[in-house]
Amino acid sequence: METNKIDIGKEGSEIVKSPSGWRIVGREIMRDKVALFSLIFLIAIMIIVYGTSLLLDVREIVKVDLFSIHQPPSEEFLLGTDYGGRDVFGQLIIGTRNSLSIGILVTLMTGAIGIIYGLVAGYFGGTVDNIMMRILDFFQVLPFLMIVIVFVAIVPKYSILTFSLIMTAFLWMGIARLIRSKALQEKELDYVQASKTLGTSNFKIMFTQVLPNLSSLIIVTMTLNLAANIGLESGLSFLGFGFPESTPSLGTLVSYARNPQTLEFRWWVWVPASVLILVLMLSINNVGQALKRATDARQRRG
């Protein structure tokens, strides 16, 4: 969030630099072994998933092959096949990629909208805040699930981007509220007043003075939101309101378990995806908790 690189030239290079916020976060994660392991695991998963998905042919994976239905794991199919004879391992990789992409995209978009909206409302306060919060309230009372279901029904083909957009449209309010409440507190502090007397414009104060003070809150919230968003996408796909089977996601793989036969005898179809969801969300949460501690000196371990 903040730029810590300051070019101080040659003569000033021996000046001692104080540890920045990132250094503290790094120290906290190094100290918390669970969080460190989670972070390494997450990075590994991302590299594997995004790396191998480049090599895999999606169309080949989702092609129905009636001769190899419900095959248990073998050398040809690492994790067996589903009821359409499709390779579960390939679907798992592509599905994880899709789910992660949506999770990250939705988190970033809700974050961007929420931060700007909340910051403007909180910083200006008064009438501006009042109007903006009533608009936000309107969005909040819309039935999210129903609208997504309608959306899925009326749009025949949708991509990761459009699906993320529709999710974003209903998920930015939480972070906006949070940022607004913090900005309301922050703008009363003297450093904001000081910036005003120093001739800094409101826009600049908002984004260069107030925003860095909210950075810890933003990072923590966005990390925890990421886990929630991945879960939400998987949940929607599980219910059949996410992607069609031609676009695998973690949720669609788990949804095959709705078939009692698959649930009982063909564990390879749904267990890997379920475990992956669980582990992914746990890991993200662990990292998020470590970040949360890093922002609060009293809870810090490192």
Partner: protein, 310 residues
């Protein structure tokens, strides 16, 4: 015309309440204040908590909305400083009361002090660093600490950073809002003497807001005493400290502790007398709402809020 002139300044805050957030009443934080400051002098604004002295200072620099009245600086109307000429803005700076909240905790010292420079002067990174180091040296801090964060400094050092930031643009007028109230007494003296030094060096004019009469006596040439948003007395340092006319001022001056322990009994008795006088004469010196009357001239420099009959 004076250097800074404040004419009938009023700052009223609405009290909202009721079902639809109606304006029920107004708090008259500043209610008709007049004063003027000469160039290179220090004007002290004294008063108890809630007397409106801070609000006056903040209204002049544009942090509080002025309800009515006018402020002139070098003959120019700066009542609406936010909309006024940007060049005037840089001539008036402020030193804040709380050295902890007035510095952005996420910014390094160099970013804090160069903030005004970045707004008004186009300097290269190298020039900027040099200026910031010069300023740090001027306020008596180690110029090598430019990359530290505010929390690594003590209260007195932080206040110096605040002062360095305020003088970075070489302003003409500095509004010092209780600049030493949050500091230890030993550090107070350091900061105050330093402020006097840079006043001489840079030819600054101060509007010094404080509730500490000792500090005011040390710093100021002209003094205004506020009570409940109005002036009760104003005059030179001698007028106020040696010939207080208003009972409120008398009581304030009597409350200054005496250094000599032998006079303790005598001083206590004097304080008691003033207290009795204050309580007896309260109704004569304040109107029905407990507010001060209009100022009446006692001498050329001395104005006192005496009742009409004199």
């Amino acid at each position: 015309m004076s250097y800074l002139e404040v004419k009938d300044l009023k700052v009223h805050f609405p009290v909202k309440g009721g079902l639809f957030g109606r304006t029920l009443a107004h708090i008259k934080a500043v209610d008709g204040v007049n004063f003027s400051i000469e160039k290179g002098k220090t004007y002290g604004l004294v008063g108890e908590s809630g007397s409106g002295k801070t609000t006056t200072g903040r209204a002049i620099i544009g942090l509080n909305k002025i309800t009515s009245g006018q402020v002139f600086f070098e003959g120019q109307d700066i009542t609406n400083l936010n909309k006024a000429n940007k060049d005037i803005r840089r001539d008036i700076q402020m030193i804040f009361q709380d050295p902890y909240s007035s510095l952005n905790p996420k910014k390094r010292v160099i970013d804090i002090i160069s903030e005004p420079l970045r707004n008004y002067e186009k300097l290269t990174k190298g020039e900027e660093t040099k200026r910031v180091q010069e300023l740090l040296e001027l306020v008596g801090l180690n110029p090598e600490s430019i990359l530290k964060y505010p929390h690594e400094f003590s209260g007195g050092q932080r206040q110096r950073i605040g002062i360095a930031r305020a003088i970075a643009l070489k302003p003409k007028l500095i509004i010092a809002d209780e600049p030493v109230s949050a500091l230890d007494v030993s550090v107070q003296a350091q900061v105050l003497n330093f402020m006097k030094e840079i006043q001489k060096e840079l030819g600054l004019t101060y509007l010094f807001i404080s509730h500490d009469l000792g500090v005011i006596k040390h710093m100021c040439d002209q003094i205004g005493i506020m009570y409940k948003g109005r002036y009760v007395e104003s005059g030179t340092k001698e007028d106020i400290f040696n010939h207080p006319q208003h009972i409120y001022t008398k009581r304030l001056v009597a409350a200054i502790p005496d250094m000599n322990p032998r006079n303790r009994q005598q001083h206590l008795q004097f304080r008691q007398e003033v207290k009795n006088e204050y309580e007896q004469a309260y109704n004569q010196y304040f109107d029905d709402e407990g507010l001060a009357f209009q100022l009446q001239p006692v001498s050329d420099t001395h104005l006192v809020a005496l009742p009409e009959k004199g």
